[in-house]
Symmetry: C2
Subunit: 159 residues, 2 copies
Amino acid sequence: MNPKLDLVLERVVDVPPELVWKAWTTPEYLKKWFTPAPWKTVECELDLRPGGMFRTVMESPDGKKFPAGGGFRETVQKWSTGWTEALEPGYRPSSRKIDAETPFFFTAVITMEPHGSGTKYTATAMHGTEDGRTKHEEMGFHQGWGAALDQLVALAKTM
Amino acid sequence: MNPKLDLVLERVVDVPPELVWKAWTTPEYLKKWFTPAPWKTVECELDLRPGGMFRTVMESPDGKKFPAGGGFRETVQKWSTGWTEALEPGYRPSSRKIDAETPFFFTAVITMEPHGSGTKYTATAMHGTEDGRTKHEEMGFHQGWGAALDQLVALAKTM
C-alpha cells in the first residue's frame, strides 16, 4: 500500500467470506450489488483465469451506459482477486489513453479474510500517479465502493 | 495474434531453448544482447514472479540513457515469458501516459520451442491500437528485435 497512490476501503462485514466471494465471482450476483443504486450494472462478464475478461456495463439513472473493466489479473489465492483497467483481456494494453474522459486507470485488489463469523473485506485501488488517486477520491471512491459493499452484504444475507 | 494490433518476430535459431532461456533470464547475459549495437543495455533488473520487476536502462551511442520496462506478466509455462509496459511492478498502472514521448505501450510475449537441435523463437508485441502497432513498426521493430536475437544467439553459442 502506497498512501500517496492508493485508496483503500477496509471493513469488517457480518457475512462469511465464502458468500462474499460468491457475490463477487458470480455475474448474476455481481450485477445486483456492484453499482450503488440508482445506478445499475446491466452486463457482467467475468473469467477468473489469469488474463481473463472482467467487463461490466453500468447504467446511469437517465439510461446512459458506461462500459468498464479490464483484463483480470488473477485469483492470487483463496478469496483474493483483482483486475486492472490498464490491460485488456489477454494482457493487451488498453486501447484507451489517459485524458479528460478517462482521467486515470486503476488496478484493484480485493481480499476477504475470515473474521469471527464474518469477513474482513479490503478493496485497494492502485493508481499510477497522485493525480489519478486524487481524482478517484474526488469522484467518491469511499462513498461509492462503500455503498456497493453495503449492497453486497444485503445480498449475501439472502443467499 | 491480431494482425492489426500485433507485431511478430518468428525465427528458428540453432541453439537449444535451455540456452535461449538462460540468455533471457540472467541479467548479466541479457545486458550483453538486449540492444542492437552500438546501443548498450547498461542496467537490468529482472524478477520472473508474477507482477515482478523487469527494468532495463538502454544507452545510446552518444551516452543518453533510456529507462524501459514494466511489471513482468509471468512465466506462463516452461520457456515462455512476457511483460507489459502498461503496468509497473506489483500490477500498478504505469505512471506514464501515451503522448508524443511515449507513443504506445506494448505487452511482449516470448516463447521458445524445441525445434530439432535448435529453437523456434517467437516474440510478439501486442499493442492497444493500430496506431501504436504502426509507430512501433516504423521505429524498426523487426530490424531491432531481429538484431538483438542475432546477438543472443551469438552469446548463447559461447555459453
